[in-house]
Structure formats: structure tokens, C-alpha cells
């Protein structure tokens, strides 16, 4: 036993004499950190690094089988899922790892922001971190493209359409992105190169820099209200703090990182096991148009923003907003490099985090059920509630058939079934008079197309008669006050109850 041990030490010494890496690595591991940083709040960065390792390993393993060819990528994913031993599990790990990585990176960013960690002297660490966030999102987008299915195909179409809006050079940018005139083989190979070589290469180099700066400058101490960061005194204060309360990073602080990383890995494994891999959805065949493309989870909020921007603002916002957002993040430490670190003394920072979190949350939720999208088959599949057909005249029932046939339900719900693009029509007659309904149907307006060209006069009459019967829980119908006045010849002041 002791002989084996001696042999091991001898081998280590032989290597160490030539490599000389063990000593600095040990020094880095046991370097002193302020004891306040041994906290469960300081575990997200290391967890993100561990997941990055998982992504590298699972990515390489998937590359053993995946075929980056437009004609075969989709079937090679099917092959991975169904024919390769545990191929589905590797795909699931890589997919869930990606979602977890984005989540952890975002949480890490919010935490260091709230703890003022971007202030002097760690400005560059933050700036590199911003690029790491962008690269992580870049990995997510290019990874979604490699899952070459319907969503991926039309996602590329969305990307190309956004790029095409760039003034002057838009067309050239689209050609560069697609690698040819259409979304096809050359498009997939260039996204393969981006996802497998270019983006991860830059990502790993920047992670190295990021970690190097954390070691060199020391981990951000736990902020205290009133402890002001100033360029003149900070280095001295930090070294005093470390001297007074210092503990070796390994093992005194690192065990929390290790436990959290293990928990996160277990969570990724559990999700992969229970929920399985993402897609692939339908084949990347553009002639199959019965599809409702949607981006992956991390980009749903952008999908929602694109639905709500007014047409004439869309192009400017698409290009100005990212510059402003990314520019603000990059400039933040240079503008606010000194001062208070503690969140209780930075109400604007806390408010910003809250607003951003709520905004992203709401937009993502909207992106999950896309209320702006017509439900393309609602008119064939959802029945009109029988209550809405009771005690109706033949003309009104005819109107219900027109309502169904003219595909109104793709955008309007009735009885809780149908699209959400337009308002629900269960009580439309309490909000609009017959004349207003006729005008709205024939001429459109707001977000509604005009149907004057696709409805015959008799169809219009029947449809509007049906709609005027929809008064919710037997509420009073909308009336035209001026008509009443015209008929009765009385002034409004003499009318009781406005009727």
C-alpha cells in the first residue's frame, strides 16, 4: 500500500518537475478569501462553469453521430433518439444543460449586479461577463439551428428577415448568414461551425479570462451598507479584510460551490431523464406549412416583443434597442465604478432588477401561449356552444354557420374556444350596436381585416344578426343613444337613466 503511494508521489514529482502546474494550482485553490464570501449566494458562477463542462462533453459525444447536412441532420437526430444506445439521453442532457446554463448565467449576473461586484477594480470582469452572456445566448440559438427541424428552419427565416431590415447592407448580411440564396445545406454547415468551433472557442477563452480576473482581483466581498468603494482606498481595504477574516477558498468556501454544482447537475440529469430531449419537431421541409414555428424558451420573450411592436417602429427598435441594452450593460461599471455596493442603498438597482425580471417573465409567458397568433384550425374543430343556438331564429342560426365557415374563430373565441387575437365575442352585443358590428365586419379596423369582399349581403346580415344575440349573461344590449333621441325628439337631459 505504502509502496503504491510512494510510486504515485514519484510519478507526480516527475510530472511536476516538468510541468510546474501543481504548485500554482494549489496556491490558487487555497488562496484566502474574505470569510463573508463563503455564502450560498456565491455559487452561481462556479455552477455555470460546471454546466459548461457538461455541455462540452455532451456536445462532443453528440458530434460522434450528428450529421451536419441539410438532407440528413434531421434523420441523424432521429437515429440518435431511437437507434443509438442512450443517444436520447445525451441529447436530453445537452438540451437541458443549455436551458440550465442560461438560467444560471442570468441569475449569476443578477446576483453580482445586486452585490455591486462590477465596481472597481472588477469592471473588466463584468464586461467580459456581458460577452459571456451574449455568447451563451449565441450557443443557444445556434444549437437550436442544429436541431434541424421545422422550428429551426423557420427560426432561421425569422433571423434572416430581421437581418434583412438592416439599412443598405441588409441583403448582404442575409446572404452571409444563409451562405446562399435560401435556407439550405450551406446555412446548416455555417451554423455548425459557429456552434462547434467559433462560439465555444471564444467562450472558453473568455471564461478563462473571467476566472483569471476573479483570482487576480479577489472575489467580491459581501457588501455592507455604508462601506463605500473608492479607487484610492479599495485595494488596501480589501487586503485588510482578507487578512483579518481570510479563509482558504478550498476547502472552507468551495464546499458550497461543489454541493450546489452537484445539485444543479442532478437537476439537469433529472430533467433529461423525466422530460427527455427537445424535439426534433417536424422535418425541415418548407413545403409542410401546417406549422406554428416557435423559438426555444430563452428567446420566447423576443418572439413576444416582435408581436407587439407597431409595424413602423419595428425596424428601428430591432436595431436600436439591442445597441442600447448591450451598451448600457458594458458601460455600467465604467460609469458607476465607485460608491455603495449594498442593495439597500441602491434602490434604483433593485427596482431595475425587479422590472427586468417581471418584463422578461411576462413576455416569456405570453410567448408560451402566443395570444397574438390566430389558431389556424379553430373554425373546423371548436363547436359553437349550444346555449348560443337556443331560442334563436333561423336567420341567427344561419349566422352561426357563417361565423364558423368564415373562420372568425381563428381570431375570436366564443364559449372559451378559439383564437385570442381579437376580443372574445360572448358579450359583443353589449359593447357594440348592430350598426357598429356591421361596420367593423365589413370595413375592419384596429387589428381586424375587412370582410366586405368575402361576405355576401345575406351572409353579412345573418352573421350580424347572430352576433347581436351574444349578450353574455343576458346583459343589456348596447344602444345608440342618438338614435333614441332622434326618434323620441327629446333632449338628453330629459332622458331617464340614459335610456
Amino acid at each position: 500500500m505504502s509502496g503504491m503511494r510512494k510510486g504515485g508521489i514519484a510519478i507526480y514529482n516527475w510530472l511536476e518537475r516538468r510541468l510546474g502546474l501543481g504548485q500554482p494550482a494549489r496556491a490558487a485553490a487555497v488562496h484566502e478569501v474574505p470569510s463573508s464570501t463563503s455564502s450560498w449566494w456565491y455559487v452561481f458562477g462556479s455552477a455555470a462553469t460546471v454546466i459548461l463542462g457538461l455541455q462540452v462533453v455532451t456536445g462532443i459525444l453528440l458530434a460522434l453521430v450528428y450529421t451536419p447536412s441539410a438532407s440528413h441532420a434531421w434523420s441523424s437526430l432521429q437515429f440518435l433518439d431511437n437507434n443509438i444506445q442512450l443517444g436520447w439521453f445525451l441529447r436530453a442532457l445537452h438540451g437541458w444543460g443549455s436551458d440550465f446554463m442560461i438560467a444560471i448565467v442570468v441569475i449569476h449576473m443578477a446576483q453580482v449586479f445586486l452585490f455591486g461586484a462590477y465596481k472597481f477594480p472588477r469592471e473588466l470582469t463584468w464586461i467580459v461577463g456581458v460577452f459571456l452572456l451574449l455568447l451563451t445566448l449565441g450557443m443557444a440559438f445556434t444549437g437550436q439551428v442544429l436541431r434541424f427541424d421545422q422550428d429551426s428552419y423557420w427560426g432561421l427565416g425569422i433571423g434572416a428577415s430581421i437581418l434583412s431590415r438592416v439599412p443598405i447592407i441588409g441583403g448582404s448580411l442575409v446572404d452571409l448568414m444563409l451562405g446562399g440564396p435560401i435556407i439550405a445545406g450551406p446555412t446548416l454547415t455555417r451554423f455548425f461551425a459557429l456552434h462547434v468551433f467559433i462560439v465555444p472557442g471564444i467562450l472558453l477563452v473568455l471564461v478563462g479570462l473571467h476566472l483569471w480576473m476573479v483570482l487576480r482581483l479577489g472575489i467580491n466581498e459581501w457588501p455592507m451598507p455604508g462601506r463605500i468603494v473608492s479607487r484610492a482606498t479599495y485595494a488596501q481595504e480589501y487586503s485588510t479584510l482578507t487578512k483579518e477574516t481570510g479563509i482558504p477558498f478550498v476547502p472552507d468556501a468551495a464546499w458550497k460551490d461543489a454541493i450546489f454544482a452537484a445539485a444543479i447537475m442532478l437537476a439537469v440529469i433529472a430533467c433529461a431523464l423525466f422530460f427527455g430531449p427537445f424535439g426534433p419537431t417536424g422535418q425541415p421541409d418548407p413545403t409542410i406549412i401546417q406549422t406554428a414555428p416557435k423559438p426555444d424558451f430563452a428567446f420566447l420573450w423576443i418572439f413576444a416583443v416582435l408581436a407587439y411592436l407597431p409595424p413602423n417602429l419595428e425596424t428601428p427598435v430591432l436595431f436600436i434597442a439591442p445597441i442600447v441594452i448591450i451598451g448600457t450593460m458594458l458601460l455600467l461599471p465604467l460609469v458607476a465604478g465607485e460608491g455603495e455596493k449594498h442593495w439597500s442603498r441602491r434602490p434604483v438597482a433593485v427596482l431595475m432588477i425587479a422590472i427586468i425580471a417581471v418584463t422578461l417573465g411576462v413576455l416569456t409567458r405570453l410567448g408560451m401561449y402566443t395570444p397574438w397568433s390566430p389558431i389556424m384550425d379553430a373554425w373546423t374543430s371548436d363547436p359553437i356552444p349550444t346555449a348560443y343556438l337556443h331560442d334563436r331564429t333561423p336567420l341567427e342560426r344561419e349566422g352561426a354557420i357563417v361565423f364558423q365557415n368564415k373562420q372568425c374563430r381563428d381570431c375570436h373565441s366564443i364559449g372559451g374556444e378559439g383564437g385570442l387575437r381579437g376580443p372574445a365575442l360572448d358579450s359583443i352585443a353589449t359593447r357594440m350596436t348592430e350598426d357598429q358590428i356591421i361596420r367593423q365586419v365589413l370595413q375592419g379596423g384596429g387589428n381586424m381585416p375587412a370582410y366586405g369582399n368575402s361576405l355576401s349581403p345575406s351572409e353579412t346580415t345573418a352573421l350580424v344578426r347572430f352576433l347581436t344575440t351574444l349578450r353574455g349573461n343576458d346583459l343589456a344590449p348596447a344602444i345608440d343613444a342618438s338614435r333614441h333621441m332622434a326618434l323620441s325628439g327629446k333632449l338628453p337631459s330629459t332622458m331617464p337613466n340614459g335610456r
Binding site: S69, S164, S373, A450
Partner: protein, 224 residues
């Protein structure tokens, strides 16, 4: 190198280095300046080599963007006009004229063919003018609807509602010997067709009011 753990080799090496007789300072600096010059020269040489190498690399990278988009386009046959009943809009697939042999299904592109009457046709791209998603034709309500963000277009392709800022993209078409031909090749985007669609809503769609009212270039006329 680990300063805290000196090894016998490194000790002897440093002793050996010290054993070399020191040159006079003036001679060393003279040689240094010559070496420094040669080093700068080598940097210059490598910079030149790098620049020479960069030209083909950048040319290779920018290749797809430098190609004129008109060179992608060519006329292809969609089929005899008898295949398209009047007053109907049908989905037709074609093989893109430019493909690679590994494009697979992605080389098959659909389009909407509307035969207004006689020899009057309209051929619409499948891609929504908003963000390129596939629009679907609803014959009863006479609308094209987009599943992504709810863009809607009338039968003649003009914008009806939703986020698109213009009508559907149209392919050039002509009829030769009773065959409908269209000019295709590149995925239609706002970059090539910033604003071809007229601002007028043509409700009947058969008459071309636009030929009288020239469509104005620029963003303003794109608004529906």
C-alpha cells in the same frame, strides 16, 4: 518554474549561466539594437504575410454576400395554366433553381398561385413579410394568415392587419406556351423587396390600379 522549490538542475543551470563571462555593456546594447531591429523586421515580414493571407480568407468568407442577387434568380415552370382554376389560390411546390446535392427537402419551396382570371395571375412567396414564417391561405375568409405573429393579407396579397409593414412578396411571372413561369432563386426578404406593394387596398384585386399610381419607394408607402 517554482521559486519555492529549487531543484538541483535549476541550481546548476543558473550557476552555469553565471559562469558565462559577461560582455561589456556597450557591446551588448549594440548587439541588442541590431537584434531588436531584426525582430522588428521579422514582425513586419509576418504582418505582410498575414495581410496577403487575409485577402483570400476574407474573400472566401464574404463570397456569398458579394454575389449579385440577380444571379441567383432564374425562370422556372410551375405547370400548365390549366392546373390553376380561375378565382382560386393554390399552394404549388417547386425545386429551387440553385441547390446543393445535400440540401434535401430544404430545396423544395412552396408558393401561393392565384389565378384571378384568364392569363392574370399572382404568385406570392410563402414567407410572411414580417419575419418570413409560412403564411396559409383561408379560402372562405379570403385571407392569408401567418401563424407566428398573426400577420393577415387579403386575397391580392395586400396587407390586411398585424405586424407586417407591407403586403406579401410577389414573384415575377409570365406565361409561355400556356405554361406559368416564375422567376425565383432567392428567399424573399425586405432587403430586396423593401416596398414593392402599393399603399392602395385593392378590394377586388383583379384590376391593377397600381399601374396608374406608381408605388413610391421608401418606408412610408409600406404602411397598410
Amino acid at each position: 518554474m517554482t521559486p519555492s522549490e529549487p531543484t538541483p538542475q535549476s541550481d546548476s543551470a543558473s550557476q552555469g549561466r553565471q559562469a558565462i563571462p559577461q560582455e561589456p555593456a556597450s557591446a551588448r546594447s549594440a548587439r541588442q539594437s541590431r537584434r531588436a531591429f531584426l525582430f522588428k523586421l521579422s514582425l513586419l515580414a509576418n504582418g505582410a504575410v498575414g495581410a496577403v493571407l487575409a485577402v483570400p480568407i476574407i474573400g472566401y468568407l464574404l463570397g456569398p454576400a458579394l454575389k449579385k442577387s440577380s444571379r441567383y434568380d432564374s425562370w422556372i415552370a410551375l405547370g400548365p395554366i390549366g392546373d390553376f382554376p380561375e378565382n382560386e389560390t393554390r399552394l404549388v411546390n417547386f425545386r429551387n433553381p440553385i441547390t446543393t446535392s445535400w440540401d434535401g427537402q430544404t430545396g423544395d419551396i412552396p408558393c401561393w398561385v392565384r389565378r384571378v382570371s384568364g392569363n392574370t395571375f399572382q404568385v406570392f412567396a410563402i414567407n410572411c413579410a414580417h419575419l418570413g414564417c409560412p403564411v396559409r391561405w383561408f379560402a372562405q375568409s379570403k385571407l392569408f394568415l401567418c401563424p407566428c405573429h398573426g400577420g393577415a393579407y387579403y386575397a391580392d396579397g395586400s396587407r390586411a392587419s398585424g405586424p407586417p409593414e407591407r403586403g406579401l412578396f410577389e414573384y415575377d411571372h409570365k406565361i409561355i406556351a400556356n405554361t406559368l413561369m416564375i422567376r425565383v432563386g432567392e428567399m424573399p426578404t425586405l432587403a430586396q423587396h423593401a416596398c414593392a406593394e402599393p399603399p392602395l387596398r385593392r378590394l377586388d384585386g383583379s384590376t391593377n390600379l397600381v399601374s396608374i399610381e406608381k408605388p413610391k419607394p421608401g418606408g412610408v408607402s409600406c404602411q397598410g
